[in-house]
């Protein structure tokens, strides 16, 4: 039996001394698409940052295993090189650093850590050309400084472009749909869908069911107060859209965690 790609066991994590995750468990296998939904403050973003290794978040209990190995002691760049990618909710700007220069450095750093040869300029540009089509990203944006002066939609598209270029085994998308108009949303979804493969898993964090119309998840989890309180198939997302979160809160208060998957 192969290990799950990602296994989160009873995870407790805090930021600035306040515990946000109170015993979260989740298992993701290669090839699967999982969606995490939940109200504001339920711990969705915290979960993505803890997996990626943000230094501000302190893990106080439990474990996170990636490909069967605990990654809690790994630096963020080690996790990235191992194949974990986080598309940020608020992509940061890096003035003066061209998008392509940044991406080439990142890609080559990852290749180097895996013992692969670095890509030459020509090989890199061929890859850029191929992947740029996927997310319909404007050539002009590629040569501009990383995210500087980009519109909200352009920033998100740029995140998916980086995802396509770096080809991780686990892609975490933190509210990539927020602030996108319907066309941009479709483009982003198209990019993600074409990147789906039996080796790659996705963890989509979202507020709204809308994104899931375009990216069909295998599993939907509801996060409440730092724990997964309900899991199900894609119909759970529709149910949430219909009925809101209140009934889940009531259920959770009554019986603790419920699992359908």
């Amino acid at each position: 039996m192969t290990d799950p790609l990602l296994e989160i066991r009873d995870l407790h994590a805090s930021v600035d001394g306040t515990e946000i995750l109170h015993g979260l468990s989740l298992t993701i296998n290669a090839g699967e698409v999982h969606a995490i939904m939940g109200t504001n403050g339920s711990g969705k973003s915290t979960l993505t940052k803890v997996i990626a290794g943000h230094p501000d978040y302190e893990v106080t209990g439990g474990d996170v295993l990636f490909k069967g190995r605990s990654i809690l002691q790994d630096e963020p760049e080690q996790r990235a090189c191992a194949g974990i990618f986080l598309a940020f909710q608020y992509p940061v700007e890096v003035p003066g650093v061209s998008n392509l220069y940044f991406l080439r450095s990142a890609l080559n750093a990852q290749r180097k850590s895996r013992g692969e040869a670095e890509l030459s300029g020509a090989e890199f540009l061929a890859l850029v050309k191929e992947k740029a089509k996927l997310v319909d990203i404007d050539q002009g944006l590629l040569n501009r400084s990383v995210n500087e002066g980009f519109s909200g939609g352009e920033k998100k598209r740029n995140e998916i472009f980086q995802l396509a270029m770096l080809a991780p085994t686990l892609a975490i998308l933190d509210e990539t749909d927020s602030g996108l108009d319907i066309d941009a949303l479709k483009t982003v979804a198209h990019g993600v869908n074409s990147l789906r493969s039996p080796e790659r898993a996705f963890l989509l964090v979202t507020h709204y069911q809308r994104l899931l119309n375009y990216i069909e998840p295998d599993f939907v989890h509801v996060l409440l107060d730092g724990r997964v309180v309900k899991s199900g198939g894609k119909q759970l997302a529709l149910e949430l859209e219909d009925k809101g979160y209140a009934w889940i809160e009531e259920e959770a208060a009554g019986s603790g965690s419920i699992s359908v998957a």
Binding site: E75, A80, F102, N108, A109, Q162
Partner: protein
């Protein structure tokens, strides 16, 4: 942007990689400063009477001056009688081919990555190498002389082109200018000289590499660069020094003369030994650099200052002619206990003169940095314009950055703009880059290089790569 990451990794092993000492026999004068020393330096260099007199006038004037105290960096009193003012490799520097240069010296410059081997023409850079007080070797001279370009050591210029030296020496920085320039005028040992004839575009980068080697010596070189009417030259200057526990004084003077319609581009990558983590040792880099731009002429200063315990310099432009242009692009990086007080002076005299100042300061550790700049618009400078931008980037919470712009305008038609900003590298930026696979140090280096892009892009290609690598190396261990 050139690819630099792998080189940064490779280069990053040492704290200061130019800290070694070359074992070359030196011909030195005893330490101390008095008229006989000034005469002895002049005699060693077989100088004509007028130059000896000029030096002595400077020395006598220096005796009447007081060491300035207005600058932000403070340092213990310098014992001027304890410094060796002349030190030269024993082997005669006047050599006709490379075979005659002391192999130890060649090796020294090889280590610095400066090939004096004229056969390696690929680099396309003509080099004048100054070791302690003496110019060791100037490359590509014959090829340049075909176009009438003179590129040689200062001493050779005194012998071979006395009329040019006499006409322009002290014409931009007079021997009475300031304490350190005056001291330099009295005891300067060597340096580079360059003359570009009218209408000639110098076909290659000219470059001087300075190296202080001997202990207890000061380095007082003098560079004089003249671009005749309509000429163009791009000039590079690089500096390193061994790692020593005592402070070494470097008080250089650079004079640029851009005649009508000429364009001089002067770039510096300064990497003198900065001292150790606690501020012990390091070079005091007290330098006077100034250019005079005549009608329609343009002078551009670009500097990347990463070394020295204290850097104190203001490369300046006197925009004398109508429509002349002055530019100053600067990156200064200070860390540990380093201090820098640097900036520029733009003196607008002619009509429609324009100047641009772009200063980027980066501080880490306990370093302290000051941008000090003067934009002065004289009464006759109708239509003058200046645009200044001074940005500071702080790494960590124990360093300092200060901006002190002075603006004096005596002409109501002048337009002067000044922008300043101070920022910190954000944790989110670092996390983002690390999440994409870059190490923390590469992330910081990338952010800093991006911050400096407007200045680095002004450097000639080879220098830009070197400067980027240098910034990367200098940032090693500066974070966290």
């Amino acid at each position: 942007m050139p690819d630099t990451n792998e080189s940064i990794q490779a280069l990053a092993q040492q704290e200061y990689k130019h800290g070694w000492v070359s074992h070359v026999d030196a011909d030195q004068l005893p330490p101390g400063l008095h008229e006989d020393i000034v005469r002895a330096i002049s005699a060693k260099k077989h100088e004509p009477e007028w130059l000896t007199e000029w030096r002595l006038r400077a020395y006598r004037h220096w005796l009447t001056m007081r060491e300035p105290e207005w600058q932000k960096p403070k340092y213990p009193k310098i014992d001027y009688q304890g410094i060796i003012y002349y030190s030269a490799p024993k082997k005669k520097p006047e050599v006709s081919s490379l075979d005659e240069v002391d192999p130890e010296l060649l090796e020294t410059f090889e280590k610095l990555g400066i090939s004096l081997d004229e056969q390696k023409r690929l680099s396309g850079v003509a080099v004048d190498a100054v070791f302690d007080s003496v110019s060791v070797k100037t490359t590509f001279r014959e090829e340049l002389s075909k176009q009438g370009i003179i590129f040689c050591s200062f001493s050779e210029a005194v012998t071979d082109h006395p009329e040019l030296v006499k006409k322009y020496l002290g014409s931009v920085v007079p021997y009475t200018d300031n304490y350190f320039a005056t001291l330099n005028s009295a005891v300067f040992s060597d340096g580079s000289f360059c003359y570009i004839p009218p209408g000639v575009r110098c076909p290659m980068e000219l470059s001087t590499y300075f190296r202080i080697n001997s202990a207890g010596t000061g380095q007082f070189e003098r560079t004089l660069l003249i671009a005749d009417e309509g000429a163009y030259v791009s000039y590079l200057e690089g500096c390193t020094a061994p790692q020593r526990d005592e402070n070494q004084l470097h008080a250089a003077v650079v004079e640029l003369v851009a005649l009508k319609g000429a364009h001089i581009k002067y770039s510096t990558v300064q990497n003198w030994y900065p001292g150790d983590k606690d501020g012990k040792g390091g070079v005091y880099n007290f330098v006077t650099k100034r250019g005079m731009a005549n009608e329609n002429a343009k002078i551009s200063w670009t500097q990347v200052e990463t070394g020295s315990a204290i850097t104190w310099k203001y490369p300046s432009c006197v925009l004398k002619g109508d429509n002349s242009v002055g530019e100053f692009y600067s990156v200064a990086l200070t860390r540990d206990r380093q201090m820098a007080d640097t900036g520029t002076k733009m003196i607008h005299i002619g009509k429609n003169t324009r100047s641009t100042i772009v200063s980027k300061g980066i501080s880490a550790g306990h370093a302290d940095q000051t941008y000090r700049g003067l934009v002065k618009i004289m009464k006759g400078a109708t239509g003058a314009r200046n645009y200044s931008v001074c940005d500071s980037l702080l790494i960590g919470g124990t360093c300092g950055a200060h901006t002190t712009p002075y603006i004096e305008s005596a002409n109501p038609t002048a337009v002067v703009e000044h922008e300043a900003s101070t920022s910190k590298i954000s944790d989110d930026q670092i996390f983002f880059l690390r999440q994409r696979g870059l190490s923390e140090e590469d992330a910081v280096s990338m952010i800093v290089n991006g911050f400096c892009k407007d200045v680095l892009s002004e450097l000639p290609m080879e220098f830009a790569v070197e400067a980027q690598k240098l910034l990367g190396v200098k940032l090693e261990g500066a974070v966290g």
